[in-house]
């Protein structure tokens, strides 16, 4: 541990918008899907880096579930390493974001992944509070092409509750083959899961990057309209 491990808030006191990308990397994602997802992540990073304010405000964490559940390092120094769900390490602002190379394999422990992602976000908010940093309402993106292979009901319940009390914005995305009825149990009623057309990960992440840019350029607590993809308006207050 470094003595200056939280200096990231001293040299970048911008308010933060934390985003957890909770990604299905189970065996069924092998081949084209995982390749397209990796490419989309790279484009997402490149696009958001082009927005200097969003680069300093949006913080990304990548949680994968494919056999094991991991929070992967996304900083150039530790990209792809297992961070052990350490809220201080798992998030990186976009300016320093280096997307990990995802590999597919194993089952779909989606329940565990969502539970741990929620915990990771809670930890991150604690760190913001300890450093007196303002923050936007966190985003969580769950992307899956299947159905959970673990017990997921309580995790889905937690996600819905957290979203309902405005603790985060939860988005569920189903890739071809996803069990949409199960995914719908995680998402709030007014924001049902969206089904991805083919393997259009690129468009999805482009939408995400534009949406996050819009949030990053707003004031904490503002209502901002998002680019059209099913939802019209989202409340970004923390």
């Amino acid at each position: 541990m470094s003595y200056f491990d939280q200096a990231e808030f001293a040299d970048n006191p911008e308010p933060r918008c934390p985003v957890v990308l909770c990604l299905d990397t189970s065996g069924s994602m092998k081949g084209d899907p995982i390749a397209q997802l990796n490419e989309a992540l790279t484009q997402f990073a490149a696009e958001l880096k082009g927005d200097s304010l969003a680069s300093l405000r949006v913080e990304v964490a990548v949680v994968t579930f494919g056999g094991a559940v991991r929070a992967l390092g996304v900083h150039a120094d530790d990209s792809g390493e297992d961070t052990g769900f350490d809220s201080a390490r798992a998030f990186t602002t976009v300016d320093l974001f280096s997307p990990p190379e995802l590999k597919a394999g194993g089952g779909t422990p989606m329940g565990d992944a969502v539970r741990k992602s929620l915990e990771l976000l809670r930890g991150r908010k604690e760190i913001y509070k300890n450093n007196d940093l303002d923050y936007f309402r966190p985003w969580m993106f769950l992307i899956t092409d299947g159905k959970p292979t673990d017990s997921w009901e309580s995790a889905a319940e937690q996600a819905r509750l957290e979203d309902a009390r405005k603790g985060l914005l939860f988005f569920g995305i189903g890739v071809e083959g996803a069990e949409m009825e199960t995914l719908a149990k995680f998402t709030p009623e007014n924001r049902p899961p969206m089904k991805l057309r083919g393997l259009a990960f690129g468009e999805l992440f482009q939408w995400l990057s534009r949406s996050l840019s819009a949030v990053a350029h707003s004031k904490v607590g503002d209502q901002i309209p998002l680019p059209p993809v099913g939802w019209a308006e989202v409340d970004t207050s923390s």
């Binding site: 040299d11 006191p13 300890n130 007196d132």
Partner: protein, 259 residues
């Protein structure tokens, strides 16, 4: 009684000075006396002054030397005597810098530099200021309080220097009794103006909490001074910092693990 002071400080050259091959004109000095008293000084040599790197080195070193000798076997007992000691220290530091100037055949303005002085023990907290340095403390109640604030000179972007003729009139000393005038001090930070645009909240003119909160935690954690010093250098030369300031910058951080 709480734990001894842990302190780390460094001055680094700004990116604009690297381009023009100007030396680092900032200096800092700090020490913890055997009695437990913390002494620190930071100084920013004027950019336009030819020998201000030497001026700032002299200013911080002489300040510490004088304070060390004065506090070796006595300790002021009240606000007035602390104030006197501080002012005498400043005047003597100034005399010594001017003497050096004369010895080297230069003009006082060639050695122009600011000076921020900090003294802290269990009971007292003392700050002295000429120029645009900045110092703040974090109390045990987690308040952040500025104890030395930048002085604006007559013209935009100008400030006052130890070598100015009227320096003694401009010098501001503050003496706090901890637990009375100010909460007990847990940590403190002193810096030159290279860092003040990060450290001071522009709207409120108060210490910017997201800047200080993480940094004020540093000294309490220090077990190994060399490592802390290396990490402080890395912090001060990081791209993030350089994106916001191209000036020389100095940061001294001190804190007590027990508080």
């Amino acid at each position: 009684m709480s734990g001894a002071w842990h302190v780390v400080g460094a001055s680094v050259r700004g990116t604009s000075h690297l381009k023009t091959m100007t030396p680092c004109q900032d200096s800092c000095a700090y020490m913890v006396m055997e009695s437990g008293t913390l002494l620190a000084a930071v100084s920013d040599g004027a950019g336009s002054a030819a020998r201000s790197d030497l001026g700032s080195q002299q200013a911080v070193n002489q300040t510490l030397e004088i304070l060390f000798a004065e506090l070796l076997d006595r300790r002021p007992a009240n606000h007035r005597t602390w104030g006197d000691l501080l002012f005498e220290t400043f005047c003597e530091t100034r005399r010594r810098v001017l003497r050096l100037t004369a010895e080297e055949g230069g003009q006082p303005r060639d050695y122009a530099c600011t000076l921020t002085i900090l003294i802290a023990d269990d009971d007292w907290l003392v700050s002295g200021q000429i120029g645009d340095g900045y110092a703040a403390v974090q109390t045990t109640r987690d308040d952040l309080v500025a104890i030395a604030e930048p002085q604006r000179g007559e013209y935009a972007d100008s400030t006052y220097f130890i070598t100015d003729e009227q320096a003694a009139d401009v010098f501001v000393g503050r003496v706090y009794r901890q637990g009375l005038d100010i909460g007990p001090v847990r940590s403190l930070a002193a810096m030159t103006d290279g860092l003040t645009n990060l450290a001071i909240d522009r709207r409120s003119a108060q210490p910017h909490r997201p800047f200080f909160k993480p940094l004020m935690q540093v000294p309490g954690k220090i077990r190994d001074h060399e490592t802390a010093l290396t990490e402080l250098y890395e912090f001060l030369v990081s791209d993030r910092i350089n994106a916001r300031t191209d000036d020389d910058k100095t940061l001294v951080l001190a804190g007590r693990p027990g508080r």
